[in-house]
């Protein structure tokens, strides 16, 4: 029998996951795809953070004289505008760089919103059980029944285009999986003896959460978040395409494609280059996320 001291058990559990963690880390770090993806992301994020200094021009500066300048490797191109200019003469490269900020901001913020909502919902569901659990479960089902794009479209169209609206809406349409994972973890944990023992000696719920639930779910959450950032970026692009983007002069990549798509036959770079930017970023995120999943989940080959 031997009542194991809670602390020892905890140490064992946490220790095991850390040890497993470093093994996983090694597996991840040695994978070429993961390295490439991480490198790309690193570049992307630094460029985005340093945008005002890295971008050659002010992304909002228009010039009627310089409209539709092609990229510099085409005839009529200009080295001052390496990727050409758009329909009001704004530099495409600068807009893409600044757009990186917004796209990444939207992606990360939306996922943060999802995380907060999802983890809270999962915790509430798992710990409180009963009616709360059923209620939240129903909300999850309802939320999952809508195609994300349509729901987002309806919300944004109804409330008016704005960056905050988009972030909130995208966040509110992706939280379900976090809730499920956290809930499953909480339920699994409740079974364990040492938790009951801990409760018996008065260890608060919060500590249980922090020390047990979260560490075990971290790996799943990290993987899911990574992939969801990618999805959020694609979703924002889709919303802009359907005409309900942030509505402003903020140059998001999705918006650039939306504005440039009418001119695709005469100025291919306007819609194609931001699309490539999205592609590269999302690809990098997917590569990293995918390898993370492989590394952290011992079941896959």
């Amino acid at each position: 029998m031997a009542v194991m001291l809670p602390r020892a058990t905890v140490a064992y559990e946490v220790g095991a996951s850390i040890a497993g963690g470093s093994r996983a880390w090694r597996r991840f770090a040695l994978n070429p795809a993961a390295l490439v993806g991480s490198a790309i992301l690193l570049v992307m994020v630094s460029v985005a953070l340093a945008a005002p200094w890295v971008a050659p021009h002010d992304p909002a500066k228009q010039s009627l004289l310089r409209r539709f300048t092609p990229p510099m490797w085409q005839t009529g191109g200009n080295a001052a505008y390496p990727l050409g200019t758009d329909q009001v003469g704004r530099d495409v490269l600068s807009r893409i760089i600044h757009g990186a900020r917004i796209s990444l901001l939207v992606g990360v913020s939306a996922v943060l919103v999802s995380l907060v909502v999802g983890v809270s919902a999962g915790l509430a569901s798992g710990f409180m059980g009963g009616k709360v659990d059923t209620a939240i479960g129903t909300v999850v089902d309802v939320s999952l029944s809508f195609p994300q794009i349509l729901l987002a479209l309806a919300f944004v169209a109804a409330l008016g285009p704005s960056l905050v609206t988009i972030i909130v809406v995208l966040g509110l349409t992706g939280w379900e999986r976090y809730a499920r994972v956290v809930r499953a973890e909480v339920l699994a944990l409740r079974e364990k003896e040492f938790v009951e023992a801990a409760r018996a000696i008065g260890v608060g719920r919060l500590r249980i959460i922090v020390r047990h639930v979260l560490p075990n779910t971290v790996s799943s959450i990290v993987v899911m978040s990574t992939l969801q950032v990618a999805q959020a970026i694609l979703a924002e692009a889709a919303l802009s395409f359907l005409g309900v983007g942030s509505g402003n002069a903020y140059p998001t990549w999705g918006q650039m494609i939306s504005l440039g798509r009418d001119f695709v036959t005469v100025a291919w770079w306007l819609a194609t280059l931001p699309g490539l930017a999205i592609l590269v970023t999302v690809l990098a995120i997917n590569l990293v996320g995918d390898r993370l999943r492989d590394a952290l989940d011992p079941r896959t080959i």
């Binding site: 228009q62 009001v88 109804a158 504005l259 009418d262 695709v264 036959t265 005469v266």
Partner: protein, 509 residues
Amino acid sequence: MRCWLTGLFALTLAALVVPIGAGAQGKGTITVALPSHAPTLDPHMHFERVGVLVNINMFDSLLHRSAKLEFEPSLAVSWKALSDTMWEFKLRKGVKFHDGSIMTAEDVKFSFDRVLEPGQEKKKSPQYGNVRAIKEVKIVDPDTIHLITDKPFPLLLERLVYFGIVPKKHIEKVGEDSFGSTATVGTGPWKLVEWKRDQHIRLEAFDQHWRGKPAFKYVVFRAIPEVATAVAELKTGGVDIIRNVNADLMPDLKSHPQTRISTTPILRVHYISLDMRSAPFDKKAARQAANYAIDKQAMIQKMMAGLGKQVATVVQPAAFGFDPSVAPYSYDAKKAKELLAQAGYPNGVDITLHSAAVDWRPHFEALGQMLTEVGLRTTVKMWDPGPAWNKFFQAEGKATNGQYGSWGNYSVFDADAVLHPLYHTEPGGWIGKHYARVEGLDKLIDEARSSVDQAKRKRIYAEIQRMIREEAPSVFLWTQNDTLGISKKVAYEARPDEWLWLFAAKPAN
């Protein structure tokens, strides 16, 4: 498992290899790309431009307008004013509807009554506002009707050019709903074959049309929401005519071996309505500053390929009542800054402009930039035409400083058709009641629209134009062209009233 796998492959391969079935493209068909279809084919139950374009090819009105914009007899062979408020129209004899029945004065009266709905509280037709001034339609004899207006209505003939005449007995038989969707019958050059919603409307030439047979046997209106798709279709022969070709796409279509461009100036005028109820545009100097800030010529040359004309006010040169002696605001950034300082903003001021003119977004952004350069630091916000109207025109409390838009006058070539909606405040033009607050303007507009003395009206409109030029309730911009992309296989030219009068289209040789 293997079997259905192979089957799958075969299917995919077959799909790729099957020869291109180009749909309804046969000889004698002319195909037009529209961004969407109107909700109904009933000419009285919608107010969408895309619907009007289809309706004018299926229905006739009392009057027609030639390509030179002169009134021509259509279903009415002659007309005269019997008094200030009564007009007599003699109807054409022997006009057949698509179902074979003959058009009479009964049908004309029925058409007007179903929109005017005398005695009815709730008016069903969105066209009501256009013909509201008509109080009564009297049948004098089977070929003569009288139109009686409640006040002198100078725009009567204009409004009649687009007012389709529909068959009374037929509608009573099949009901309004199927009339608008499957059993649409008119007197126009083409009759309905089928309407697949969101896909295409297919029309067939009506052999017994009173004008004779059109050159094309079939007309197909395809609904293609994406510009790039429509352009691609034009280039590959999937459609023959596309509308609203952006100035930047013109060179591509001009140089493509299969396509060409036809362009002509139209009534549509662009403006920025300024909110005179709140700062900074409650000050005249600020409004004038905004006018001086825009380099209109540069915009027309660089962004519209020169296909546009600067206008002094919102009244267009082709409209009745236009006064050429009113001088437009020049481009003078220095003066703009001075005026802005005079208005009390030496360090500039932040404003927000909204617009629902999604096709003109680049221009809107350029305008915002020019205003910013003189100190009116502009945030441009673009709305979808749907919710846009609501946010603006319902919630008056919300702060907006101005709206960029364009007005097509519903193809009515009269100054009233733009002055009233833009500037009238009580009971109110569509836009005017939310923005403009020019003293005395309402009274002048009312006076001009209730007189049929053209000379008097011209005088009043001249006065109005001078007044609004000085008061600058809007930033006055330009009129534009209507630009069509046309297949080289079709001979058709754009019209100054934005109509697609396909009866005039012929196969090119």
